[in-house]
Symmetry: C2
Subunit: 445 residues, 2 copies
Amino acid sequence: MNELEILQLIESKQYKQLKSILSEMNEVDIAEILDPLDTNTTLLIFRMLPKDLAVEVFAHFSTEQQREIINAVTDKELTYILDELFFDDMIDIIEEMPSNIVNKILKNSTQEERNLINQFLKYPESSAGSLMTIEYVELRKTMIVKEALAHLKETGLNKETIYTCYVTDKKRTLEGIVSLRTLVTSDDDVLISDIMQDEVIFVNTHDDQETVANVFKKYGFLALPVVDNENRLTGIITVDDIVDVMEQEATEDFQRMAAMAPSDVAYLDTSVFNLAKHRITWLLILMLSATFTGRIIAKFNEVLQSVVILASFIPMLMDTGGNSGNQSSTLIIRGLATGEIELKDKFKVLWKEFRVGIIVGITLSITNFIRLLVIEKVELKVALTVSLTLIVTVLMAKMVGGVLPIIAKTLKIDPAIMAGPLITTLVDAISLTVYFSIATLLLGI
Amino acid sequence: MNELEILQLIESKQYKQLKSILSEMNEVDIAEILDPLDTNTTLLIFRMLPKDLAVEVFAHFSTEQQREIINAVTDKELTYILDELFFDDMIDIIEEMPSNIVNKILKNSTQEERNLINQFLKYPESSAGSLMTIEYVELRKTMIVKEALAHLKETGLNKETIYTCYVTDKKRTLEGIVSLRTLVTSDDDVLISDIMQDEVIFVNTHDDQETVANVFKKYGFLALPVVDNENRLTGIITVDDIVDVMEQEATEDFQRMAAMAPSDVAYLDTSVFNLAKHRITWLLILMLSATFTGRIIAKFNEVLQSVVILASFIPMLMDTGGNSGNQSSTLIIRGLATGEIELKDKFKVLWKEFRVGIIVGITLSITNFIRLLVIEKVELKVALTVSLTLIVTVLMAKMVGGVLPIIAKTLKIDPAIMAGPLITTLVDAISLTVYFSIATLLLGI
């Protein structure tokens, strides 16, 4: 059944058939189809879905549609939705809602829930605490497998995951984990303490989401426990949320590296004004700093005036320098983000980039020298000036590009900011100074 | 127990204590500690680990260490390793090994395994087939829950995941899926056909890994079935492999966008020669194309000679154009990769970039105009020339940057290639032509 056929069923009000088809579908697909419809239609179909499915669909609606629905439903319906939503989804929704909607939500929560919501809203954005959920399975190490499975059968449907179970004591101290695979493949009367893993890898509520994502990537976990400063289990993070985090972190790095303020709103959903706002600041900074490069040219006015052909090589030198630096900084920034490169590697990186710069610089320089003499038929001294500058430019660009991101990270600045555009500006200035200095020497101006 | 303490235990040959500590540790951490050691030491400790753990550690060794170990172990040990390795890990290893090692592996496999290995080696790199594994749980719809759980108890330890079970008929046609959560929360005598999900989302063996990753991201699955052209289940892909794919795909896009040949070898593990090789081609192409920009300057030689100050604004115009285009192309390339932007959106993108270009262009231009008049005290006509060029440059850069990646995708070229560097070169040429044309007109040269 494709989207078009379903929309036709909605149009022709064949609700009975619609209901039976939607009930078999994945919640993500249903949300995708209903989301663009007007609220009345969405609400009508939303109310006809099996209740559990309806809540799952709700969690995948856009913020706007969620707001409209919360506005429109009865208090009883809202209480049901809130009870069935996973806690992390509820927090995400509350964070996006205007205050009148938040009030309606809080009014329909118990005092205990309200306390919990307040606690979760306090975790810094992009911390482990803001990613975690509280619907996990708790076991005691004195249980036997049969009891654990009975406990799961009773409570399992309301947990975000039951595939990793957490063994805690009365104070909620995390004592071990046991996977459902282990439970299912063990005999009924085995003690949990005999099959649980004691050495548990966990994160702290205040750890950054990039750190959390790197733990998932390293170990291939499905879920990870989050503990507070007293080692008490406060929540778990599941891999599906980490998949989103990875995508979001990569997108932010792409944006920062292209000299933009990062945003996690989809391009097509961002207003023209906001797109412009995110771009202008860096363009202004870079434009003003590029004027210093202009001053260098102005300073060497006389050189230019006597050998005006020198001007025509400026774009090639600037672009090649920029591209060379961009290549290096991109590799290093990405390596720092994925944890492949660490701060202690800075001399290794510098030495590596130095050698790469030599190879690349000489290759480009020779190619260019031959081209200038044979094809462009330029004077020997001019060709020499341009080609020598090229080696220095590439070498400088590679080393600056390699080291600036590491320095940024040392200073706790996001390395992605030290990407191409900033390095280009810096390399431009160096390369033009070198260019005109060599020209002055060689051409005897 | 940290790495240093373990290395001390190894040094002082306290093997008994070492064994008991390592047995409790995560396989990834053990591999990380043993990998850099010499093969004799690694092998010694490797052999002292519990067999199942040893195989898991082996799967996380570097290719070099794996090669050394396969070389050194007896045929009996190798057969054990191969039997216990998950099939997708084995294929990954075989793909990286030299032929003498592959021969040793094949010699220690059964005829059936050899056929399977050959089949898997034929799947194109970065296809769903090359990611999948064959260790999944198969159920029949005529089973009851109790039988299914008994089947899992018997075979579950040797499966890559048991959390999603696949319901097939005798011909291996995929009829449905049932999660272990559903099994564990259902009564013993319920029929699988009554609790399985019939509407299964799956991929084909030849689907690209980026498509597969987007399915995981959209639905938040833990595993996804892979079927052949006859709809027969041929394998499954698990989310941990997708986490790796996402990281790899993002890294490749970063590299392509910075004008490099993509590579999935870690920066610090790549030789200087290989780093240089991956960078030179694009630098050469871009260097040669930048000479066309140089020709434009050469062509307007006279303009420059009469108003030599014009040269000093070239860097600012080039950099601003490049940065503006880079911002747009980055957003669009990333949007295309994550599936947020589709080919059909090209006119929406063009129109959006046009409006953003107007806002950004005018803002930059006015700032620059004031700066030139007030701070630099430049002649009015020159300031006008530079500022008008700036608007046109930014506008052109935004539109070219927005549309080229979409055109590339339409032509089935990787959009990431249409990133900053290429667009910069194009925008440079446009902006300098505009600059000198306006100058000729306004300054009456």
